[in-house]
Symmetry: C2
Subunit: 451 residues, 2 copies
């Protein structure tokens, strides 16, 4: 009785050539984070249940996966471990646990998988990669840092060749301050209004207007809000519009100053103007964020939703420490992004990590082939030595199926003449090359040594 | 009420400077695997229970972690997911599932964490990295491949600078064939005898002799076996001793031929002679292995046990497919190796991934600092822009604590003169450098651009 080999639903498992594309994206993201001085952190896949589930009864907890060893199950113990559902809670725990050993502002990147017991459906993953950066201050964190994160993402997304994209940002203090200025100073009510504003794209302006008026806003105030969140102008125009409101509420003023500082810093960092957009409609429902908020949209595919989101928070780890740890962070949801791009055939091809395969035409040239492989690896190429005896046809089919760019054939004639046959497997051409000229020829065929 | 931030026992969580060392080791291993033409595979952290636990009631199953979502627990369902406990079962499932899409011999590397519900004690991990390579054939796999794997490991371990090490190898067919030649042809009895031989280092030759004689071997035959497994000669001497036995059992002959082919190939691959040792005492208790077996010892620290083990198997995925898939594989247990080396202060330092931190001395130079940071990143350096206002002392303490090599200070005098102050934080020296000469100066201080 054979067992049918299959993976659990909601996981993304790739064939090797796809995995190379995914790996290239992971590498690009990591390199981008490191370029800006972020340091690596990895945390265990599971946390103690009481540490992970600090807030009880939330939507998140319903999706948590619990972990139990056979022994614990047999002894009837309840699970005391749970899989992380994001990288933010583990970061909070990490920073609180290692607070005295870390240098602040603490700039960490973390690229690991997270787990959610989502209902199974296309595009919903139970296991997916998050690629997070956060900057955590001790007691305070300069608002200039809020400009740095989008600058990093712009470089990374340009390298990833995801097409045109725009990072939309806002600062929650602007709308919250405006609402307070309009006399809506109940925090719960403010939150409800922001939540309706978040639906602008889905339900349209008229419906949003109706809903926020129902929540207590006057028609005039609702109108001001709706003009702001639908403003399609550039940053300077929107900033001028905000200045023109003459709204003097302190929270509004603070938000406006933070946005201005951020816009200046984005320019100093050389971020192309069209890559970021001040969009006051970005409210992000999560109460977690207290200032700047970000969402990233692929221009041609707004239906993908935000592929990189985050924001500023006042206090990272209040469940674990009395220290005040404000921070700002961004997260790329790579598994979902990869899956969407893959489904739309938008992924850029990447070179095979295997550059050269060497086929001895008869077994007596095995050792000759091994030595050649060793030499080519020393020259920086990635090289497979193929050992199986058999017909050349079969060998070439193998190289084709594996998607390798170059094959080198070694037969008796060639060994006698001091040559090898070099095949360009994509172009389906071949050429006989003197051993002494081999490295030059490979240099022409393969852009650069791979390793 | 604060919750004490802490990780579950049996997990290894590192501070950023340690994580950089660990990451450097992971990168070195991956690069080493790719250099020899292995392709990447990643599998989900959990498998379906019936897929993972093909053999019931084994030692392994006792250590398996089961995974259940909140919803499943509430509905009283038994867990249907379990965390992988090695990378071999997921490989078997992967190859069987994707058999028609893969090119054989299939050469994959997989570097991921695995999970075992071990009893908590120093050096026992519940979560640990395995770094596996396997070559899987369809129907057959040339025995030459058995030499390639140690060649790869030798390169990687030399790059990792783990000190002197030796890969011990044998071929189980040699001892099994000898036993059969001695009239012990019951497979169970053969296995019991190999298991006793595996204990040689722990209990000594006399005790092993006593135990295997008790299992039915004659004193003369036990003596032959003991001389072989204690043979300290080089490969040629041991091969000569085996030839001299005139044991004509077919299994023995086959094993001997395979070892000879492997020794030849190791030499053709340029593996230094002292890095591998033919050691017939390496029997490896696991029934799984059917030919070549490997163990890797750190010469100065045999007490670490084998840090990289594996072997040849006849059929990878018989639970999932009727196809015969013989293979050979090796695995580095990186978490344990790292932990042992760390505990003995044997780890080589690696450069900080953050090369340069820029401190504007007053806030008015923030934008100047941002532009300089952008320029240096374009030149290939990893650069942190520090924004917090405050005293220079505090900034330098930050850079020290984070272990950064170079700081650049920007103040009014320097901006006026077109210079910057460059501090070597390890040497505690500083020098004023003209903007135009900055890249040259950094090139002298930092070995090479980091990204």
């Amino acid at each position: 009785m054979l067992i049918q080999p299959r993976t659990p639903t909601g996981t993304l498992e790739l064939l090797p050539r796809e995995q190379m594309v995914f790996q290239h994206m992971l590498d690009t993201i990591r390199r981008g984070y490191e370029r800006f001085g972020f340091v690596p952190v990895e945390t265990p896949v599971f946390e103690l249940k009481d540490v992970l589930l600090t807030k009880s009864g939330g939507e998140t907890e319903k999706q948590v996966y619990f972990v139990q060893s056979t022994g614990a199950i047999q002894q009837g113990h309840a699970a005391d471990l749970a899989l992380r559902f994001d990288l933010t809670v583990p970061l909070a725990r990490y920073v609180a646990e290692h607070e005295r050993e870390l240098a602040f502002p603490f700039r960490r990147y973390q690229i690991q998988r997270v787990y959610r017991g989502e209902r199974a459906q296309r595009g919903r993953f139970r296991e997916f990669y998050q690629c997070d950066i956060d900057i955590i201050g001790k007691d305070k964190l300069d608002s200039g840092y809020d400009a740095e994160l989008p600058a990093i993402i712009v470089q990374i997304f340009e390298e990833l060749k995801v097409g045109e994209f725009t990072i939309h940002f806002s600062n929650r203090k602007i709308l919250l301050g405006l609402l307070a200025g309009f006399g809506i100073d109940d925090a719960e009510k403010q939150k409800l209004i922001l939540r309706e504003i978040d639906k602008l794209d889905k339900i349209g302006a008229d419906k949003v207007c109706e809903l926020i008026v129902a929540l207590g806003l006057s028609i005039e105030h609702a109108d001001i809000l709706l003009r702001l969140i639908q403003h399609k102008g550039n940053k300077d125009e929107i900033l001028a519009a905000l200045d023109g409101l003459n709204a003097r509420h302190q929270v509004f003023e603070q938000g406006l100053q933070e946005v201005k500082r951020m816009v200046d810093a984005l320019r100093a960092l050389g971020v192309p103007e069209h890559r970021t957009r001040l969009n006051l409609a970005i409210a992000r429902g999560l109460d977690y964020y207290t200032g700047t908020v970000y969402e990233t949209l692929i221009d041609e595919h707004p239906e993908f939703g935000s592929v990189c989101s985050g924001g500023r928070y006042d206090d990272l780890a209040s469940f674990y420490t009395k220290s005040k740890l404000p921070g700002v962070g961004l997260s790329i949801g790579l598994t979902r992004l990869f899956d969407q791009f893959n489904a739309h055939k938008l992924l850029s091809a990447v070179p095979n990590t295997v550059q050269i395969v060497i086929f001895p035409l008869e077994q007596q040239y095995d050792q000759y082939a091994l030595k050649l492989g060793t030499d080519l690896r020393k020259a920086g190429y990635t090289v497979e030595n193929y050992w199986e005896p058999g017909k050349l046809d079969k060998k070439l089919r193998y190289a084709d199926k594996a998607g390798m760019p170059v094959a080198i054939l070694i037969g008796g004639d060639e060994v006698a003449k001091g040559t090898v046959i070099v095949k360009d497997l994509a172009a389906k051409t071949q050429v006989e090359v003197l051993h002494d000229n081999l490295l030059q020829k490979l240099g022409e065929m393969l852009q650069h040594p791979g390793v």
